[in-house]
Symmetry: D4
Subunit: 146 residues, 8 copies
Amino acid sequence: MSYTVYLSGEIHSQWREEIKQGIQVLGLDILVLSPVTDHDASDAAGDVLGEEADNFWRDHKSSKVNLIRTQHMIDRADLAVIRFGDKYRQWNAAFDAGYCAALRTPYITLHSDELIHPLKEVDASAMAWAQTTDQVISLLQYILQD
Amino acid sequence: MSYTVYLSGEIHSQWREEIKQGIQVLGLDILVLSPVTDHDASDAAGDVLGEEADNFWRDHKSSKVNLIRTQHMIDRADLAVIRFGDKYRQWNAAFDAGYCAALRTPYITLHSDELIHPLKEVDASAMAWAQTTDQVISLLQYILQD
Amino acid sequence: MSYTVYLSGEIHSQWREEIKQGIQVLGLDILVLSPVTDHDASDAAGDVLGEEADNFWRDHKSSKVNLIRTQHMIDRADLAVIRFGDKYRQWNAAFDAGYCAALRTPYITLHSDELIHPLKEVDASAMAWAQTTDQVISLLQYILQD
Amino acid sequence: MSYTVYLSGEIHSQWREEIKQGIQVLGLDILVLSPVTDHDASDAAGDVLGEEADNFWRDHKSSKVNLIRTQHMIDRADLAVIRFGDKYRQWNAAFDAGYCAALRTPYITLHSDELIHPLKEVDASAMAWAQTTDQVISLLQYILQD
Amino acid sequence: MSYTVYLSGEIHSQWREEIKQGIQVLGLDILVLSPVTDHDASDAAGDVLGEEADNFWRDHKSSKVNLIRTQHMIDRADLAVIRFGDKYRQWNAAFDAGYCAALRTPYITLHSDELIHPLKEVDASAMAWAQTTDQVISLLQYILQD
Amino acid sequence: MSYTVYLSGEIHSQWREEIKQGIQVLGLDILVLSPVTDHDASDAAGDVLGEEADNFWRDHKSSKVNLIRTQHMIDRADLAVIRFGDKYRQWNAAFDAGYCAALRTPYITLHSDELIHPLKEVDASAMAWAQTTDQVISLLQYILQD
Amino acid sequence: MSYTVYLSGEIHSQWREEIKQGIQVLGLDILVLSPVTDHDASDAAGDVLGEEADNFWRDHKSSKVNLIRTQHMIDRADLAVIRFGDKYRQWNAAFDAGYCAALRTPYITLHSDELIHPLKEVDASAMAWAQTTDQVISLLQYILQD
Amino acid sequence: MSYTVYLSGEIHSQWREEIKQGIQVLGLDILVLSPVTDHDASDAAGDVLGEEADNFWRDHKSSKVNLIRTQHMIDRADLAVIRFGDKYRQWNAAFDAGYCAALRTPYITLHSDELIHPLKEVDASAMAWAQTTDQVISLLQYILQD
């Protein structure tokens, strides 16, 4: 069974690479999709359309360009893994979770147990909560077995 | 034209009361819906179903009980106002925004300009960004005029 | 906030009356809907359309007539409460749960802890699991508070 | 015409193998999907995410992990075959039937005539009732002919 | 429980009046909706928009004006009753049945047993087949009982 | 039968008043909805949220505020009447038509025969083309008759 | 652009073969789908599930088995061609048209001009009316050109 | 990631060729879809179905044939680019934009800054506004990067 997984959230650690490597080692038939994870490139996604004097509009334009990519990826994903790290606000990750919940795209959260309380609404609509990328890989292997 | 507005997000300031008062002063025909804003009551929403030794499951049960209320409210809302304050993670507010975006429920964000950059994805799908409750009230008045 | 609750499942105990009474005592603004709970009348729902020699078709006709009523009720319900007792197969109750899950109508299960294992898939998509009608009434009171 | 069939329900008999063999003998272009049918593995699907002291939560976690697999399979199936045996409660099979009914995924039930009355609501929304795997295979052959 | 029923099909007999009278006698809370049943007025529905030399376009314009009314009525109906008489082609009635089937609006067919074979596909998606208006009235009474 | 009609398009003539007057004279039970038709107020709808140096963003903010009103109105309308005059680009009217077509909200176009060719795609998805407000009023009277 | 066309309706003439041949001659990339056109086999589609004493139920079972095939085909079709001949009631063809209309699957009708008036509602929701298979083939060629 | 883009709007300049060439030069995996851009052929799309004396009906027939092609293309597109030139009414382009907005198909507008004000509603629902085909190509390259 072919399968598509979207990896949403934190861009300052190696969790995506770990999951991709685990998938490769196990030979799972999974297409892995990700947002643009180069922070500066992502912030500048709309600059090609013209410079903005106002930061709000620069962010606005870049975010919409990124949404073309990311919402398309969520729409075609069979499963999302949404990662929350300990730094930054990461409201885009929680936004993706709400978006998945409304569209009935199942998602797994990936975060440490220190974040249980602030993420309780996000976890309440998740299909699973994982603390390590190894756990995510094990779930993928289980889900996709013959 | 009757209208229903859901007020999502921050529970530690008086923004909901300000909006309700503005609606009343202007005599707008708006049903205002809110989550349970008593923090302790909200955290204990699932306790009546039995105690939990594990914090994760206590939060899980309470969050789901709260979701019965809040997702019903979003589903019947014509518009959501989503407030982000300067404290706490407020991932539930960003989750609500993503949920609205996927369901095509229009929403307005309400936050200070210090939060522009971390909220850029949330604002990109919003119909408006307001900084004060007076602005929100003015928009409601404009939208509902004859 | 007006609210509609559908009570699905077991018809051989007084749980529906208990919930209705609790709602009345608390003065909650809830429209309560139920299937036809007279077992013989329900089995005979299609007889007016002509007798059937074959039991399969008699059941088939009656079930469809009952589905006109019950699926309409689920479609307009804001919440379903699905009761599993200790007797009979009660596949219709599990069927209603799956139907709710697919339509995103939130539901609460109501059953004793002896049924945890066989009902695990049904509970996994539920918003809450209650063991007593008092718990259900408390949840309704919480959900509908101002 | 390529075609995908999901086989839901009973895991303690050889009915899935019989259907797969029939498909193979006839050379039908059908992708057959199934839940994880190893009972112990299925019950333990969530254990990799951490042990649970409470049976309810162990079942809850495992059921959700299984739902990632099974609801994905139902979502991509063109047809479901739902098998009820004479043992166990099998509420998950009836849950799948209700889920299919709401999503308009056509399904065939497979059960003996002793179960006609308790399954009447499930059969009322089915496209066919079969008593043997040979009948199911014949239907598939008919449906997929040129 | 308030309820809306759409009466589709044959316009050359008194079946609509019989059902309305039965509803009135029983005091059922049902809003009954019907297409324009004056044949000549219906054929001329589009004439106000300008005369047409070509019959195809006259019919086309009138049919679309009628569709504004009838599809709106089906969209708000909880149940449709679709009547087939012994005269005329009545393709519009079968069209309404297919439209209901796709939208999951339940419908009851009303026709004599001489039409069983040509209506088999239409009946296969119906919730019931009635032969008399008395049967329809009995079903409505059953469905709407407290 | 109560009914809601949304009047989209041209704001520089009296066509809305004519239709409202016709509805009133005939005593039809229709709720009439309209965009804000004060051109300057509409262009300034977003100004309360802060001034913009760039015209694109001023228009952007105001248009989104207006969309909160107009898309809500289309979403609750049973029928839209879309008026094209001889002046201006009126791309918002054609946009509303496409929006209605995708949502299956029936619409009537109202324009002179000089606009037949440029409006052919818009008319192709319309339920009727009227040239005068009297024709629109006649259609409403026909559609809503008992 | 690959494309799928479903051919619905009349089974007693060669129109399907003519369209398939035209597609082949032009080398169009079209997957053509059809119901089972062997009348006797179609009527007997459900017999493998057990004999029925009552004609209504024999027809009922067979029609549902056929619906598994035909509704799947309509669901995956990009376009339907619906043929009405001069004989028989052909209510199944009109039913398919209504089903397509509700699902927004575009369809072309194919019938002689003698059937204009009885088919006016069916034609009103069609994208085109053709009188010959050559016209259908020309439309397919036009639609699929580079 | 494979991707499908629909190019809507102006047919009297070379913008489609520029975008296709840019895609080819960059080796992007994009299927590009377009309406029939031969103006005369497009106006005559329905002529094969029979001549029309009345221009309205000739346009009507041709537009519907073209809609079979274009709405199918929008339905399968992951992104639309909608071009407005300085000539003609181009209501079909604005119609496509509204259609995309309602279906949540993301779209980019492509027009000069002289059209900002009349296109403000169309731009308000767009994901980006580009002024040159080079900008569109850059966005596609960004969106589809690994």
